[in-house]
């Protein structure tokens, strides 16, 4: 926490968790999708479902998907802007289970890059957590550059990724590994202190056994 988390941020009201956090979830999701989103099915869980409308959570999520920032005065008009930009939006509710944070949402996105499902929560004070992407755990905050590598569960992939980071003098802040079963599909989520260059991402994505490389850069958020 820094002093501008206390005196700040500048945001569109009314709620840091239900409005500003929701915008951030939308923004991070937009960047994770990496292509034009044509359709978004937005399923609200818990308190997002029960008091989301009064807090403008619906508009805030759509505003984020459109790339608006938390202090953009156009957030209340997000639905109209979505229509103008050809983003089709639908809303529903979902039960993500007892363990899910009360302010959670499941975003089912589709467009040029095919379908993508993101589960995220707004954990207070405008901070967020991306919990899962396409059914695999992710658990990152969107505060740091984040590298997500999907690969086959076989020896050596972690070493490949970490030696690339070492080579580029990139320090790892946090690292998580998950797999759906021995020898199945695995995912590593690495939060870094520095940005990962484009050519390294491209190099990674061509490696044998690597299925997908997703990268989130918070640079835009800091503007």
């Amino acid at each position: 926490m820094n002093i501008f988390d206390i005196v700040g941020p500048v945001m569109v009201g009314p709620s840091s968790s239900h409005t500003a956090g929701a915008v951030r979830i939308g923004r991070v999701s937009r960047r994770l999708y990496h292509a034009t989103i044509e359709k978004a099915e937005i399923l609200l869980h818990g308190s997002f479902a029960s008091s989301g409308r009064g807090h403008g959570t619906d508009k805030a999520l759509v505003a984020g998907l459109l790339g608006l920032s938390v202090d953009d005065a156009r957030i209340p008009d997000a639905m109209t802007i979505a229509k103008e930009q050809g983003l089709s939006v639908s809303f529903g509710t979902i039960d993500l289970g007892e363990d899910a944070h009360p302010n959670s949402v499941c975003l089912r996105l589709s467009g040029e890059a095919g379908p993508m499902e993101i589960i995220a929560s707004s954990i207070g004070g405008g901070r967020i957590m991306i919990n899962a992407i396409d059914g695999l755990s992710a658990n990152f905050s969107g505060d740091s550059p984040t590298l997500i590598v999907h690969n086959l569960d076989q020896p050596g992939h972690v070493a490949e990724v970490t030696s690339m980071l070492q080579h580029k003098a990139i320090n790892i802040a946090t690292m998580q590994l998950y797999r759906n079963g021995r020898g199945g599909h695995a995912v590593m989520v690495i939060e870094c202190d520095q940005e990962v260059p484009e050519e390294s991402l491209s190099w990674l994505s061509h490696l044998e056994g690597v299925e997908k490389v997703t990268y989130y850069s918070p640079a835009e958020e800091r503007d």
Partner: protein, 296 residues
């Protein structure tokens, strides 16, 4: 971030720097930010606070229809000279309502420390700036001092966050309106030229008067009672500042007051911590509003 008022005051004596400077330096060190960049960001925050006050539109209503147009009523009464609490407090009340109503109506505000309590600091600081300007204060000097006061507010908020919480969901409204009030009280003393010691006493006095305040938003919305509680947060900050400036001291040290806020928050039933299940939210009228909102 400082973790105690005692450390902050001790370091202040040691280094003989103003409070705001110590707070700024500490944040710059942690965030690897230059003093110039930090100052500019804080100046931008004050500008954004002023904008959140100027942008008020009395015709706007919140999504539930419960909030809107109330600051204009105070203005009318003030302009008639009919306010019991006088002209200056009239400005403070009006401004707290303007900014908090703006928040409920999805306009841009500065969360300080939270969106729900966003009216307190602007109400106190902008009204004091206006008052000093009217008394012939130098505008350039004043705008510098406003930014310094905001640093003091931020430093106080930081200590409260470390020792207790700034979230209604954790410690009730005392953590939001109470903290905002405490921050504004210290800032007001600094602005008035009071000593660091007096600023800290003002912060303690302000929090003590709001200790125990529960977070009971009707239908879970940042509307009722949040908007009007910004008024008591602002007014309480000014009375605490005046007490401290007069030499009245908090008999319980500021650090212990914040620790007490945490204990009180922990003792609060979950219904009274932003769940919208207890207090005013659980009244007959509160429940009817929730029912109406869920049907929409």
């Amino acid at each position: 971030m400082y973790t105690s008022f005692a450390d902050l005051l001790e370091e202040q004596k040691e280094k003989n720097l103003p409070l705001w400077k110590l707070i700024q330096l500490e944040d710059c060190r942690e965030e690897a930010l230059t003093e110039e960049a930090s100052w500019q960001r804080m100046a931008d925050m004050y500008e954004a606070m002023k904008e959140s006050d100027r942008a008020y539109d009395s015709a706007l209503r919140s999504e539930s229809g419960l909030v809107g147009g109330e600051a204009a009523k105070i203005r009318k009464q003030r302009e008639k000279g009919a306010l019991l609490s006088g002209d200056f407090f009239g400005h403070v009340m009006e401004r707290a309502l303007r900014v908090a109503e703006n928040n409920a109506c999805m306009k841009r505000i500065v969360a300080a420390p939270t969106a729900g309590s966003c009216g307190v600091l602007p109400a106190v600081l902008i009204s004091l700036e206006e008052k000093y300007l009217a008394e012939g204060g130098d505008p350039a000097d004043l705008s510098k001092r406003m930014v310094e006061a905001l640093y003091v507010a931020g430093g106080i908020g930081g200590i409260i966050a470390e020792r207790a919480s700034l979230a209604g969901a954790e410690c009730g409204c005392q953590a939001e309106i109470g903290s905002a009030s405490s921050m504004a009280a210290g800032a007001a003393v600094t602005l008035a030229g009071g000593s660091p010691d007096k600023a800290v006493h003002a912060a303690a006095l302000a929090m003590k008067s709001l200790l125990g305040l529960v977070c009971d938003p009707v239908a879970g919305l940042v509307e009722v009672p949040c908007v009007k509680r910004n008024v008591i947060g602002a007014v309480n900050a000014l009375t605490a500042a005046d007490m401290a400036l007069s030499g009245i001291r908090s008999k319980i040290p500021a650090d212990q007051v914040m620790d007490a806020m945490r204990s009180v928050g922990r003792a609060m039933n979950e219904d009274l911590r932003e769940t919208g299940l207890g207090g005013l939210a659980a009244t007959e009228t509160g429940k009817a509003v929730r029912k109406k909102m869920s049907r929409r």
